[in-house]
C-alpha cells in the first residue's frame, strides 16, 4: 500500500484527537478561572463594605465639670475622666423624646463605646477644647452600621430584629439631616483587635505578620543561600551529602503544623522563649521556609551556564571567587524569586502559629519582636469564628488585605523572573 495514502487515511483521526485534547485543556482552564472568580467575587462582595464605617455627628459639650473639675489640666485627671458621660449627654439632648431608662440605654448603645477613647485622645491632644461644644463624628455601633449597610431587613418582625423600630426611627431622622453617614473606615487600618467589631482593626495583625516575616527572612535567606552554595559548589559527592539532600527535599513536604509543634517543643518549652511572639513565629516559619529557599537557590545556581564558571576558573579565580563574582549575581533573581514565594507561603500560614500561641486575643499592636502578637491569617481565623455580622464583614476585608499582599509578593517574584530570563 502507498505510504502517502496510509498517512492521509489516518490524518482525520489525528486531527480529531488534537481538537479533542485542546477542548479538554480549554475546559480545564475555564473551570479553574471560574472557580477563582467565584472565590474572589464572594470575598470582595462580602468584604468591600468593611472599608467604610458609619459615623454619627454629635454636638459634644466638653463639660469642665465632668472632665476637669479642679481646672488644673492635670494629665492623670484628664486621662481617667468619664468621657462616656459627654457622649450620653449629647445623645440625650439630640433625642429628648427618649425619656425612660430603657429608651435612654438604647440611645447610648447607638454610639460605639470606643468613642470615649476618641474624645479622650482629642482632649489630651488639645486641652483647649474643654468648655467648648464641638460637632464631632463618632463611630456608630456595629448594629447601626449593619443597618446603614443594608444588612438588617426592616420587613422582619420587630422582635426578631437586632434593632427595634424606635432605633430605626432615630437613624432615619438623623439620615434626613445628614447627621449620620458612611465614611472611609480608618479604624480598620489603625487599630488592633477588639471585642467590638466597629473598633476592631488589622493593624495589630499586620504588624505581627510584618515582624514575624522579618525574623523568617533573616533566618531562612542567609542560611538557605549558604546551604545551597555549599551543596552546589563545595560539598563532596558522598552518601552523607546525598542523605542531606534527600532530607531537605523531604522537609519541604512536611506539613506546616509539624513545624509548629517543633517550635512549641524546642523554642518555647526548651529554650524558654516567650510564647505568642513574632520571634518564635518567625523562627518556626523560617525553618518551614528554609527547604523551599535551598531548593530554589540550588535550581537557580544550576541554571547558570557552566561556561561562565569555567571562564572565571580559567583566568585563575578561586572557586569561591567564581561563585561570588559570577555565578551568584546571575542566580540572584532566581533565588529572590524562590525566597519571595517562600515568604508568601509563610505570610499565609496559620497552623504553626496556632501551635505556638499566636492565636491569642491581643488588642495592642506589637511594638517589638518579643511582644505578644497575632498574624494576619490567624486574625482572619479568629474573626471568622465570631458571630457578629460586623466581624463576618471584617473577615472578608482582612482576607482581601492578605490577598493584596500575596499578589504583590508574587508579582515581585514574576518581575524578578522576567529579569533573569532577559539577561541571556
Amino acid at each position: 500500500m502507498n505510504p502517502t495514502k496510509q498517512i492521509v487515511s489516518g490524518l482525520a483521526r489525528r486531527q480529531r484527537a488534537e481538537k479533542r485534547f485542546r477542548l479538554y485543556g480549554l475546559t480545564a482552564v475555564v473551570l479553574g478561572m471560574a472557580f477563582l472568580l467565584l472565590l474572589f467575587g464572594s470575598i470582595v462582595a462580602n468584604g468591600y463594605k468593611a472599608f467604610t464605617q458609619t459615623y454619627i455627628e454629635l454636638p459634644i459639650y466638653f463639660d469642665p465639670a465632668v472632665i476637669d473639675p479642679s481646672s488644673e489640666r492635670d494629665h492623670q485627671t484628664l486621662f481617667s475622666a468619664d468621657y462616656w458621660k459627654l457622649v450620653k449627654t449629647a445623645v440625650y439632648q439630640k433625642f429628648p423624646q427618649a425619656s425612660g431608662r430603657k429608651e435612654r440605654r438604647e440611645l447610648t448603645r447607638m454610639v460605639s463605646e470606643g468613642s470615649a477613647y476618641e474624645l479622650r485622645d482629642q482632649v489630651l491632644e488639645n486641652p483647649r477644647l474643654i468648655g467648648t461644644t464641638q460637632h464631632i463624628w463618632l463611630a456608630a455601633d456595629d448594629d447601626i452600621d449593619m443597618l446603614m449597610k443594608g444588612y438588617i431587613d426592616r420587613n422582619v418582625p420587630e422582635d426578631e430584629r437586632r434593632l427595634n423600630d424606635r432605633i430605626i426611627g432615630y437613624v432615619d431622622s438623623m439620615r434626613e439631616v445628614d447627621a449620620i453617614e458612611r465614611r472611609f473606615n480608618t479604624t480598620f487600618f489603625a487599630a488592633g483587635d477588639s471585642r467590638e467589631p466597629e473598633q476592631a482593626g488589622i493593624l495589630g495583625a499586620l504588624m505581627g505578620s510584618f515582624l514575624t516575616l522579618i525574623v523568617t527572612l533573616l533566618l531562612s535567606f542567609p542560611i538557605g543561600v549558604a546551604a545551597a552554595v555549599y551543596l552546589e559548589e563545595f560539598a563532596p559527592r558522598n552518601r552523607f551529602i546525598d542523605l542531606i539532600e534527600i532530607n531537605i527535599n523531604n522537609l519541604a513536604a512536611v506539613p506546616s503544623i509539624i513545624f509548629g509543634l517543633l517550635g512549641l517543643a524546642i523554642f518555647i518549652n526548651w529554650f524558654g522563649m516567650p510564647r505568642s511572639t513574632p520571634v518564635v513565629g518567625g523562627l518556626v516559619l523560617g525553618l518551614m521556609t528554609l527547604p523551599t529557599i535551598i531548593i530554589a537557590s540550588r535550581v537557580s545556581i544550576q541554571s547558570v551556564p557552566p561556561s561562565i564558571k569555567e571562564a572565571a576558573l580559567g583566568v585563575g579565580a578561586s572557586r569561591m571567587q567564581a561563585m561570588f563574582h559570577h555565578v551568584l549575581p546571575i542566580a540572584t533573581p532566581g533565588m529572590l524569586t524562590g525566597t519571595i514565594i517562600g515568604m508568601a507561603r509563610a505570610l499565609g500560614e496559620t497552623a504553626p502559629l496556632l501551635m505556638i500561641g499566636m492565636v491569642a486575643f491581643i488588642v495592642d499592636p506589637p511594638g517589638g519582636f518579643t511582644e505578644p502578637a497575632t498574624a494576619l491569617p490567624v486574625q482572619i481565623f479568629l474573626w471568622s469564628d465570631s458571630p457578629e455580622r460586623g466581624f463576618t464583614e471584617r473577615t472578608s476585608a482582612a482576607i482581601l488585605v492578605l490577598l493584596v499582599f500575596l499578589i504583590a509578593m508574587n508579582a515581585a517574584a514574576v518581575y524578578l523572573r522576567e529579569r533573569v530570563t532577559k539577561r541571556f
Partner: protein, 288 residues
C-alpha cells in the same frame, strides 16, 4: 589570507567517522619525537580516567616555547581531556582522575602543593564556545588582573585592558563602547574578547580548545592571524578538528587516536609525510 582555504568547512564533531580502521592489529605507541629543546611544559606518562573509563593512555608530549602545537584527531579521541590537564581544569569534573606528571619549570602541576589558582594564571585558556562574562567589555578583560592584584590603580588597569584588547586585535572595534556588555558582541569578537581576557593576566601558555568551531570563516581567519601574532610572546596549544587550520597556524602537530598519541612531529612532516598508517588515513580524509 586565502578565504577559499578557510572555507573548507571542518567536519562537525557529531558526524563521527563511519569507518574507524580496525584496531586489533594496530600499534598505537607514539611515532616521532615528542620532545623539544627548552620546553615550557612537559606531559609525562599521563593517563586520564573518567570514573572507570580511561580516556587518555600513556601520553608524553612537550609544549615548546613561543610556538604553536596543534592537537588533531577524530572526535572523542581525548584532545580536550588532555588539554584540560595542562591547567587542571579537569579538577572541576566529578570522577575525573589524572595519573602521571604534567611539568612546568620541573614542577609537577598535579603536586599537592601546586595551587590551581596560580597555575591557571600562568596557563590561560580559551574555550570552544565564546564565554564572555555578562559584564562590560572592560570588566571582562579587567577581571583577571583585578583578582590577582596585578594593578595598583585605575590607570594601570586601563593600560592592561587596552594593551590586551589591542593584542587581541579588538581594540579598534570596541574602544568607544568599553562599558557595553561583552555578550553583545558578535561571535568572533566575543572569542577575541576571551583571548584578551586570557592574555590580560600575562600567562606563559595559552590553551585553545577549538577556538574557531563556533565562528564563521572570516572570524576564523582573524583568530588564526591573531594566533600567529601571539606566538611571539606565548606558548600556544590549540585543539582543532580542522586539519587546514592545524596546517596554517601550528609548527608542531600531535595526532591522537582513541586516547593514544599516535604521531607527533613538525606540522610540515605530519601533513606531507605521515609515518603512521592512522595519521595518513586521517589527513587524507579516509575517516573523520
Amino acid at each position: 589570507m586565502d578565504i577559499t582555504e578557510t572555507l573548507a568547512i571542518p567536519i562537525p564533531e557529531q558526524l563521527d567517522s563511519p569507518a574507524v580502521p580496525d584496531q586489533a592489529d594496530l600499534d598505537l605507541t607514539t611515532v616521532g619525537d615528542f620532545t623539544v629543546p627548552d620546553p615550557r611544559m612537559k606531559i609525562r606518562d599521563v593517563n586520564v580516567f573518567y570514573g572507570q573509563k580511561q580516556a587518555i593512555f600513556d601520553v608524553n608530549l612537550d609544549i615548546g616555547s613561543n610556538s604553536v602545537v596543534a592537537m588533531i584527531g577524530p572526535s572523542g579521541c581525548g584532545k580536550t581531556t588532555l588539554l584540560r590537564c595542562l591547567n587542571r581544569m579537569n579538577d572541576t569534573i566529578d570522577g575525573c582522575r589524572v595519573e602521571g606528571r604534567v611539568e612546568m619549570d620541573d614542577k609537577n602541576v598535579y603536586d599537592r602543593k601546586m595551587d590551581p589558582v596560580l597555575l591557571r594564571a600562568r596557563v590561560g585558556m580559551v574555550f570552544q564556545k565564546p564565554n564572555p562574562f555578562p559584564k562590560s567589555i572592560f570588566d571582562n578583560v579587567a577581571y583577571g588582573p583585578r583578582i590577582h592584584g596585578l594593578v595598583r590603580d585605575r590607570t594601570d588597569l586601563e593600560e592592561i585592558v587596552h594593551t590586551s584588547l589591542e593584542r587581541a586585535g579588538l581594540l579598534d572595534e570596541v574602544k568607544d563602547r568599553m562599558d557595553q556588555p561583552g555578550t553583545g558582541l558578535s561571535g568572533g569578537q566575543q572569542q577575541r574578547l576571551c583571548i584578551a581576557r586570557a592574555i590580560a593576566v600575562s600567562p606563559e601558555v595559552i590553551l585553545m580548545d577549538e577556538p574557531c568551531s563556533a565562528l564563521d570563516p572570516i572570524a576564523t581567519a582573524r583568530i588564526e592571524e591573531l594566533i600567529g601574532e601571539l606566538r611571539k610572546n606565548f606558548s600556544i596549544v590549540i585543539v582543532t578538528h580542522s586539519m587546514q587550520q592545524a596546517a596554517r597556524v601550528s609548527q608542531r602537530t600531535a595526532y591522537f587516536h582513541l586516547g593514544y598519541l599516535v604521531e607527533v612531529g613538525s606540522t610540515k612532516d605530519i601533513f606531507t609525510t605521515p609515518k603512521h598508517q592512522l595519521t595518513e588515513e586521517y589527513i587524507t580524509g579516509r575517516f573523520g
